[in-house]
Symmetry: C2
Subunit: 276 residues, 2 copies
């Protein structure tokens, strides 16, 4: 059981920042990653659709055999966490909780910014989770959707003039709120960390939910005595629902190393074509 892989899933490539952080923190663990690239992005879709897709994604990983699930997508965490917990009987961690808890821990002034996709911001899930994690103090939370950040990252525009201009546009309103902590509430955003950091200012602590999630993943497995004790390093296998070539290119850019195993699969059980 302990030698089973950790299952990590996302709507596309964003969750690879979580995979990267988990691999660094737990090099002996194997990982199976699923990116639902046929239906990416989830961030502009409705709650019902996101729930349905998330259940299909998680079901695929369960059939592959995993010892825990990591929801490496803030949009899925914000919209489908309860549904996933109700459907699946398996340890489950989603990026949103660890990011919110770390923000509550590091803020000094209690003025916290959250940047995320439209669907995550609209769900209000970060605000709720940060308040739950700050039971004995007042916090002020300022959320802002940054819809162009995801396409910028996917096009590799992480330090271009365009990226700086877009960051200025999104972050100027938050700078004015005098926040001292900024949650990168989308797994794509850690790849823009240098630009975001320079724009928001050095006095603001950036909370990278990918790193926070890797830390809690390690704690969860340790508490359940489920860490892989093997001394050989773990392996990563990657599955996508479409366009493996494009994923391959972006994934190698994000991970900074070649992929060992990549396969295109279907995760939607009954979605057959009707032919005439």
């Amino acid at each position: 059981m302990n030698s089973l892989p950790i299952g990590i899933f996302d709507s596309g490539v964003g969750g690879l920042t979580v995979l990267r952080a988990v691999r660094r923190r737990l090099p002996q663990e194997s990982v199976i990653y699923l990116g639902d690239t046929a239906r990416v992005p989830y961030g502009v879709k409705s709650r019902g659709t996101i729930e349905r897709y998330a259940v299909e994604d998680a079901g695929f990983l369960l059939r592959k055999g995993v010892k825990m699930l990591v929801v490496a997508c803030n949009t899925i965490s914000a919209n489908a966490r309860e549904r996933l917990r109700a459907e699946f009987d398996l340890p489950l961690l989603s990026v949103l909780g660890p990011g919110a808890r770390m923000a509550a821990r590091v803020t000094r002034t209690g003025r916290i910014g959250v940047i995320a996709t439209e669907a995550t911001v609209e769900s209000g899930a970060y605000e709720r989770a940060i308040r739950v994690a700050s039971p004995n103090r007042d916090v002020e939370i300022f959320s802002h959707a940054c819809p162009l950040f995801v396409p910028l990252v996917e096009e590799g525009e992480t330090d271009s003039q365009v990226a700086c201009l877009v960051a200025e546009q999104y972050l100027a309103p938050l700078r004015e709120k005098r926040i001292d902590t900024l949650v990168l509430g989308c797994t794509h955003y850690p790849l823009l960390k240098p630009v975001i950091g320079a724009t928001i200012g050095a006095n603001v602590t950036l909370v990278d939910s990918a790193e926070a999630t890797a830390e809690e993943t390690a704690q969860l497995l340790e508490n359940r005595r489920a860490l892989n004790q093997s001394s050989s390093g773990g392996v990563s296998r990657f599955y996508v629902t479409d366009a493996a070539g494009r994923f391959h290119k972006i994934a190698e850019r994000i991970l900074g190393e070649p992929l060992d195993y990549l396969e295109a699969v279907e995760v939607w059980g009954h979605d057959k074509l009707e032919s005439k």
Copy 2:
């Protein structure tokens, strides 16, 4: 039969530029529009997936009762046109052909640029269609993918500083090729026409495939004596597969008028949730 609506479909909101052009050219015709917003964007997906989605989209419109189909998405036109013709027995026009034919007609020097999504550029469909439409002359075609244009349009950033900077980045290489004609090979791009025109230069003719398609739609219906003879104006009905609120906002911005009828629907016949 002649009073039946025209069916227009796209992966999202882009095809609304085609609907707008058709409504202007043929105000007496009714139109049903389908935007597959649950699975948008198609432009980064594989040919097989695009074909499958396109067949489901077209099938939905057929069940609603339409007298012809207009594929208002260059990615679908480039990747699924043959498949749609094979599956459905109905007059079918797709944006790619009219745009290519107009480019062949208006170029003086034969040096033509095409800007489109990655999937359209990779298909080579515009190059082939422009060559077919230019049987007696040499043409040189320069294609360039502009992946950030779609998210810019969907976020309403059509004349911002960011839009200008992105346009400069994508169009500078084409300017150097001394093209005299530029095909806007994605239905989102007409909304960036002022920025694209200013960046590429006033000596380059922009071919708006939405307008070209509206013109050929009128010709097709006239040739088949299928124009609506009613003297009252046509009506437009809109269907989306997800997130009707977001579509509504963007659609009214693109069309410049309120939507009469908008409904969220499912187009995938067998894609039911498996509950435990």
